[in-house]
Amino acid sequence: MTSTAQETGSTASPVEDSVNAFEGASVAGARIGVVTFPGTLDDRDAARAVALAGGTAVSLWHGDETLKDVDAVVLPGGFSYGDYLRAGAISRFAPLMDKIINAAKAPSAPLPVLGICNGFQVLTEAHLLPGSMIKNENLHFMCRDQRLRVENASTSWTNQFSTGQEIVIPLKNQDGQFIADAHVLDELEGEGRVVFRYEGSNPNGSRRGIAGISNAAGNVVGLMPHPEHAVEPGFGPDSSGSDARFGDTPLASGTDGLGLFTSVLHSLVTR
């Protein structure tokens, strides 16, 4: 169910109103697809994030044969197909994924794609991104507000951050430990494709503290933490990476995740 996404026409949604509130009129036309697989959970949240950033969220069904002319795509979090096989291993074969893979690899104006949590797992299964995720080191599902360092602020999804910037967004998953061969890790590091790294203690045992990566072109980004849960004051983390002091931080006001969504809108306008 993706009723907050615009194409389904829910007028009682905050998604629509915020489109008009966005300052850059040219950006408001940007259509960001949000894909729903069976078992996807954070699709409504991703659609809300797109709208709060000023874009138009378009709901896409995994069985669709067309991308509905979207300008970018978000694969949201969840437990597609229950994660009963490897996380993302079945969703990767959805008809829509073929379209997304082709568009993401296009030589000119490749489609920006963001995979969040289960979406990241789908991207690795689809080989748009390297590596894989295994169970958290402590074997528990883990939900917490996580500090990250933005390592690469030039991708389609991070250009509104600055390199080295600290942000706080929720981390919540069972299979969040990023792994890859040493040479893949070296390559990711060497090419600046580590986009986000965990700050402080490593929460889940991810290799080299990697929280998110990109493809070589920088249009495809995947990360385990959930930026779409840190976009609206009052419903996000209690802190952010940039506020002056914790004690004065209003309750649940962290909106650091919004930067990923404003980044893609910016990249669409400027490319």
């Binding site: 954070d42 939900c143 802190s239 506020d243 004690g247």
Partner: protein
């Protein structure tokens, strides 16, 4: 179809009255079996016997509790019904919260399965209550779990705690439902009978309310979702041995196995069905499976239904008709659809890849007819199955041991004589209290639950209530809290139930919401024990009286009896869930203070009430009378808290309950890692108590709030005008940070990476909780004590 068993048809039953039937093994009493024969005018078929036995079980029929539960209806006034759209009796009650929005919520037990198989028991407990919510037409928006385990250091607690917590987490997380609160209690009294009570809440527009009935003669009956298997058949081994063929598997697990992915798809699929208006009536399949769904749908509708049972899609082709009727396989729903909507229904099923089978149709014959390959195996009046089960007036009497127990006050004990009194002793006592199993941080549990999904969570654990936004435009939202104290109820079940409601009510108001409705999960021992039955009767009387006094109706709930092992019953544990409403969740009040210089007020008075307290528990004492509860005081306190929140007078509020003022102050400081300076001398003088009592008494009707300096006059005027006792006991201490460390932030809240605090805190002034003239504790020391306990036991 080749028969793998001898089919016991209605025709056969009529001609073979002498056939021995395993009614006793299926749990029916002799008089109950005779009643079935009387109703039918012949012996029941094997399939009919299966249906009656499960539907007339304690769990489904409420036969021991019914006569007492009536009080919830009898003691409801017209005013209390004002916001009730659907009351007790449906899958869940529905409350009008304004702007055409309705909320449905219910709490239910899954205790025994969770003892046998903690992971699946707890998981399917969540799954079952969520299906109740869906079947009302609502989108589920949150879950909560009230858990009670045996002693924390008992070896079996390792099995039960890990299994239950990961079961609740796994199922709720996979459904995309934020877990916004609940309880975790450890007490050896629950060693053999852990309690897993799950609450779910859903929202819908008024016009979307769906009820479980089969109306419209000729409409089609469809079963959809997961296939029916041999799981969850209570008396399956008995039924199987009744079969004449012994080549089939005879033992089946009695615990259901959950498939949260199937349920998530079922939720979305049902919501699409509702949106497209293609179902006339809908019912989830829980306890008693198809027996319950067909008999309830039929008796609530036109009165008749005709079903072909071989159409049921099976996971295990060897199941007998009786097993199919009794199976409690999860993730199934039954709906009534008009023939015109059948194609639209099928299209939605196909979109979500959900399996379905058309079982039959609604009739007006007043009979529920079930056929097996065209042969009648059930022919009953569905009302006799679903609603006209036996009703018992179980004998009950006040336990003789109670007088002695109630006379053993903590004050008269040696443990009280040894109570901490000096500042150093009190300081150590606070650390001991907040690290104890019941008062320690429950982060280890709640960090395994997703509280963010759906993006509408405004408060969750460890705040007093979970808060969810319902309307994204207006901020209209709800608050929920569940509470119970088995120790209070053991000492005095009537007062214990009132105390449970008082605390849940207070918690909801503390978050800033107006309490509206109640759902209860009544966990007790065996109703066949007159002393347990007395505890049960007293608890219901107490809860019903208290609901009437506070003006909040019980909208539904669940009774769980027979929670006892080896003749020892659990303490009476009436878990009470209260639902409250906000005009705008933006004004909710968190449980911790944040702003430097704000005044800290204690509302209410403190009496010498330590019987049944957590401190007495730590010293191994249980006796006396629980704290007195004055519901008019609770009501006034709640109004104060709601008004103060709405008018922006307070920035933090936390109620006082288990652990008293000591626990409340520590929790408020730790919530945002902000210290405070507090004095209790004036409190001791005003209320005539010593420092120990001031810190550890569990007197009711109290809360601590933080008030901005600019609001202090308005706030105290409001309290004075109502004559409500209020005392300024301190000030929030959060000194400005030097500019050089301004970039440092983000730590302190449970769930935030704590290693960072260790890296950076040297640049911040060390926050402390300073109880002046008594002791000063660094928040780092408090946090270490508070958060270390569960990880130390459970990793």
């Amino acid at each position: 179809m080749t028969e793998k068993f001898n089919l016991d048809t209605v025709k056969n039953a009529a001609t073979t009255p002498e056939t021995e039937l395993p009614w006793a093994e299926l749990g029916l009493k002799k008089n109950e079996f005779k009643r079935v024969v009387e109703i039918l005018g012949r012996r029941p078929t094997a399939a009919e016997l299966a249906m009656y036995s499960v539907m007339w079980s304690e769990h489904c029929s409420y036969k021991s509790s019914k006569v007492h539960l009536r009080q919830f209806g009898d003691k409801v006034t017209e005013a209390m019904k004002e916001h009730l759209l659907v009351g007790i009796g449906e899958n869940a009650g529905v409350v009008d919260i304004g702007d055409d929005w309705a909320v449905t919520f219910k709490i239910e037990s899954h205790n025994s399965p969770s003892m046998v198989e903690p992971f699946q028991g707890a998981a399917t407990g969540v799954g079952g209550i969520v299906r109740d919510i869906i079947s009302m037409g609502a989108r589920p928006v949150a879950v909560m779990d009230a858990l009670r385990f045996g002693a924390i250091d008992h070896p079996d607690s390792q099995r039960v705690v890990h299994g239950v917590v990961s079961g609740v987490g796994s199922y709720g997380n996979s459904l995309g439902l934020p877990n916004i609160g609940g309880e975790v209690v450890f007490d050896s009294a629950y060693q053999g009978n852990p309690l897993v009570n799950a609450l779910a809440v859903g929202v819908m527009r008024h016009e979307d309310i769906r009820l479980a009935n089969a109306s419209g003669v000729g409409n089609k009956v469809v079963l959809f979702g997961a296939r029916t298997g041999g799981d969850g058949i209570g008396g399956a081994s008995v039924l199987a041995s009744e079969s004449f063929d012994d080549t089939k598997p005879s033992k089946r697990p009695a615990v259901q196995v959950g498939d949260p992915f199937a349920e998530k798809v079922l939720i979305e699929c049902c919501l699409e069905l509702f949106k497209a208006s293609v179902v006339e009536g809908i019912q989830d399949l829980g306890a008693a499976g198809i027996s319950c769904a067909t008999s309830e749908l039929a008796s609530n509708g036109e009165g008749g239904m005709h079903v072909e049972l071989t159409n049921v899609l099976l996971r295990d082709p060897t199941l007998t008709p009786g097993e199919i009727l009794m199976s409690e396989s999860q993730e199934r729903m039954m709906a009534v659809v008009t023939p015109e909507n059948a194609a639209a229904f099928e299209a939605i099923m196909d979109k979500w890849n959900v399996e379905y089978s058309w079982l039959g149709e609604v009739t007006n014959t007043g009979r529920l007819i079930i056929e097996w390959d065209g042969e009648e195996i059930v022919d009953v009046d569905p009302k006799t199955v679903a609603h006209e089960g036996p009703v018992y007036e179980r004998p009950f009497h006040r336990p003789e041991w109670l007088d002695r127990l109630q006379s053993e006050s903590f004050t008269a004990s040696s443990q009280y004589r040894d109570r901490p009194q000096s500042g150093a002793e009190l300081s150590a006592a606070v650390l001991e209290l907040i690290s104890s199993p019941n008062m320690c941080s429950k982060d280890w549990v709640t960090n395994q639950y997703d509280r963010y999904v759906q993006g509408n969570t405004a408060l969750a654990m460890p705040d007093d209530a979970g808060v969810i936004r319902v309307d994204e435009q207006t901020g209209l939202g709800i608050a929920l809290s569940t509470d119970a104290n088995g120790r209070y109820s053991y000492l005095n079940p009537y007062e214990g139930a009132r105390l449970a409601l008082a605390e849940a009510y207070r918690n909801v108001a503390t978050s800033g919401a107006k309490p509206m409705a109640v759902s209860d999960c009544l966990n007790f021992g065996s109703p066949e024990d007159p002393e347990v039955m007395w505890q049960f009767a007293e608890s219901i009387r107490g809860l019903a009286d208290a609901c009437q006094e506070l003006g909040v109706p019980v909208t539904g709930g669940n009774v769980s009896l027979y929670n006892q092992t080896g003749g020892v019953a659990i303490p009476p544990t009436p878990v009470v869930g209260v639902l409250g409403v906000f005009d705008d969740v933006a004004r909710r009040t968190p449980s911790g203070w944040r702003h430097d210089g704000q005044a800290i007020y204690l509302l209410g008075t403190t009496a010498h009430e330590l019987d049944g307290s957590e401190w007495a528990n730590l010293r191994g004492h249980l006796g006396g009378q629980p704290p007195a509860v004055d519901l008019s005081v609770e009501k006034m306190l709640s109004e104060l808290l709601i008004n103060a929140s709405r008018d922006g007078m307070i920035d933090a509020a936390h109620d006082l309950s288990e652990g008293g003022l000591a626990a409340t102050l520590a929790e408020m400081a730790l919530r945002f890692n902000v210290g405070a300076r507090v004095g209790i001398d004036e409190l001791c003088e005003r209320d005539g108590i010593d420092a120990f009592t001031a810190l550890f008494s569990e007197s009711q009707g109290r809360a601590v709030v933080s008030v901005a300096r600019s609001e202090e006059v308005r706030f105290t005027d409001m309290c004075s005008a109502r004559g409500f006792p209020h005392l300024r006991i301190g000030v929030v201490d959060n000194p400005p940070v030097p500019v050089s460390s301004a970039a440092s932030s983000g730590a302190g809240r449970p769930g935030v990476d704590q290693s960072w605090t260790e890296d950076h805190h040297e640049s911040l002034a060390e926050p402390t909780l300073d109880v002046q003239g008594q002791f000063t504790l660094s928040l780092a020391a408090l946090r270490e004590a508070h958060e270390g306990t569960l990880p130390a036991y459970f990793g």
